[in-house]
């Protein structure tokens, strides 16, 4: 019996080692490629760079195109997250605290927008933005991304807020707190984990979104995800450069995760992530 259990444990461990090796290998290969000279990438397949070089990273950090692309992405992503959180917090509060006519239907309609394929909105956004003068602007892209992020944020925040007992609101009002004071001083600190999770997910979505960002920008607001796709397909693909850019696009997501790591665990437990 004991031996049987031990055998099972060994089998499971071997399975895990195989799985995790396959899981991590592609990422390792990208980092590996980003540290090589182009000659080495094109001439042979090596598991370690023969000679480590930071030339690819240097090229990105000194290129105006790449640096501007990174800046453009960061600008509209932050705009998007700020607007999303500011408008979604009160909306989620309304859904979690009050019953009103059509609230269930309104909630479902909001969620369907999260599920809608972005490609549907490609044509109308182009037309609308040309008319409004929002085409190829940061605020334009960030507003387009609200379409997916507001529903997502409301969905997550509503879950967190419904976990806060209504008695807290009632006690505060009985004690004579004016609404705005209760809301900012008592309620918001209680749901700050939810705000962290929502902000993280909105950040990653807006950061990686490709269809709308590609359609709505040409030069002035062109994000790094689009610059990456343009780099491919041109004659003589610069693999080292693309790999280095790929490594760099993971960095912001990793940083955000580091800052909200404690909130994420709770968000996961709620089953909404």
């Amino acid at each position: 019996m004991m031996k049987d259990k031990k055998d099972k444990r060994i089998g499971a461990t071997i399975l895990l080692i195989i799985y995790f090796t396959i899981l991590i290998f592609p990422i390792y290969w990208m980092v590996n490629t980003s540290l090589k000279y182009d000659e080495e990438i094109l001439s042979s397949m090596t598991f370690f760079p023969r000679e480590i070089t930071f030339k690819n990273y240097e090229q990105i950090f000194t290129s105006e195109l790449w640096m501007e692309s990174f800046a453009n992405s960061l600008i509209y992503v932050f705009m998007n997250v700020a607007i999303t959180i500011v408008v979604s917090v009160p909306a989620a509060y309304a859904f979690s605290r009050w019953n009103f006519r059509g609230d269930k239907h309104l909630f479902f309609w909001l969620i369907t927008n999260r599920m809608a394929p972005a490609v549907i909105f490609m044509i109308p956004f182009t037309q609308l933005y040309n008319n409004l003068g929002l085409f190829d602007t940061h605020i334009g892209v960030s507003i387009a991304h609200l379409l997916f992020n507001i529903p997502l944020a409301i969905w997550i925040l509503e879950g967190f807020m419904s976990g806060i007992p209504k008695e807290i609101d009632e006690t505060a009002f009985v004690d004579g707190y004016p609404f705005h004071k209760f809301f900012f001083k008592i309620f918001l600190p209680l749901v700050k984990q939810g705000i962290g999770v929502a902000a993280f997910l909105c950040f990653t979505f807006s950061w990686v979104e490709l269809i709308l960002a590609k359609t709505l920008t040409i030069t002035d607001a062109k994000p790094v995800v689009v610059t990456l796709t343009v780099g491919i397909g041109a004659e003589g693909v610069k693999w080292g450069l693309l790999a280095a850019a790929g490594v760099l696009t993971i960095v912001p997501g990793a940083l955000v995760v580091y800052f909200v790591r404690n909130y994420l665990a709770k968000g996961f437990a709620l089953g909404r992530v």
Partner: protein
């Protein structure tokens, strides 16, 4: 109270009106017109819809999309459960496992495309080299089957960790007493899994399946970057197909196709939404 609720919703709804309702109305309007490359629109009623629904290319991309999504779920869900079961329940290795699982989920889609393009290139890739060793001439730009299964592999690599994490969270929530009771009753391993583990995983699995259904159904970046939809139309999934039509300024056609696409998503979402809220209630009643 009623008025206050609407006041709180107003800012969110105002933005949603700009970014959801106005575009949708535009699409509906376009779908009933013949528009090509900036010419004046001509009203054609439902003609675009008829054309789309009779277009073998559109129907082909829908079929391909359903097969792809079905295979994604068929592979990722069982694999997610198996790996979650194999993971240690406690101990020093748990945090490392969780961090490793989190890494692929953080990588932007387009970078996923680049990683795998590096992998599968005929001149510098490691995958063709490995297949050559097995005497199989793998070529992602020439062979349809290779291209399709490469995209499928990419999705499985990228998103199975999500199902593992969800299943693992679900497994952790099952009290040990259940397993002890099953052991006392002399239940076999398989029936313990079938009657104890699986029902308890139902809630997390439904959420996981829902997310994977929705996101694999709108897969776009991976085929765009990896195969460009080819060879031929082997990896031209629904989103890519419609975006190509829109980019070639066949706006009426693309709008009608978009609405049909949206309708499918809406019906599926509604079914899943009903199912989830019922499962959610069921769990609530038990506990």
């Amino acid at each position: 109270m009623k008025n206050r609720a609407w006041l709180f919703l107003l800012p969110a709804l105002a933005f949603m009106a700009v970014s959801a309702i106005i575009p949708l109305v535009t699409v509906i309007n376009y779908s009933q017109n013949y528009i090509f490359a900036g010419s004046m629109p001509t009203f054609v009623g439902l003609e675009n819809f008829v054309e789309v629904l009779q277009d073998p290319q559109f129907l082909g991309s829908i079929g391909r999309q359903f097969i792809f999504t079905f295979l994604v779920l068929l592979i990722e869900v069982p694999l997610g459960i198996i790996i979650a079961l194999a993971m240690p329940k406690k101990g020093n290795w748990v945090p490392l496992n969780l961090v490793l699982l989190g890494i692929p989920l953080l990588i932007p889609y387009n970078v996923v495309g680049i990683i795998w393009r590096l992998f599968t290139q005929s001149d510098v890739g490691i995958v063709p080299a490995a297949f050559n060793g097995l005497n199989y001439a793998y070529n992602v730009t020439l062979n349809s089957g290779d291209a399709f299964f490469t995209i499928l592999t990419v999705d499985v690599w990228h998103w199975t960790p999500l199902l593992i994490l969800l299943s693992y969270a679900g497994l952790q929530a099952i009290p040990n007493a259940y397993y002890r009771a099953a052991a006392i009753d002399g239940a076999s391993k398989w029936s313990t899994f079938k009657y104890v583990t699986l029902p308890k995983l139902r809630t997390v699995l439904t959420i996981g399946i829902l997310l994977r259904f929705m996101d694999s159904f709108k897969i776009y970046s991976e085929p765009l970057l990896l195969t460009g939809g080819g060879p031929g139309t082997a990896t031209t999934f629904l989103s890519l197909f419609i975006s190509r039509k829109a980019e070639s300024y066949e706006l009426g056609y693309a709008s009608a196709a978009s609405l049909i696409y949206f309708f499918i998503v809406l019906v599926m979402s509604y079914i899943f939404f009903q199912f989830i809220s019922r499962v959610g209630r069921g769990v609530h009643d038990e506990g």
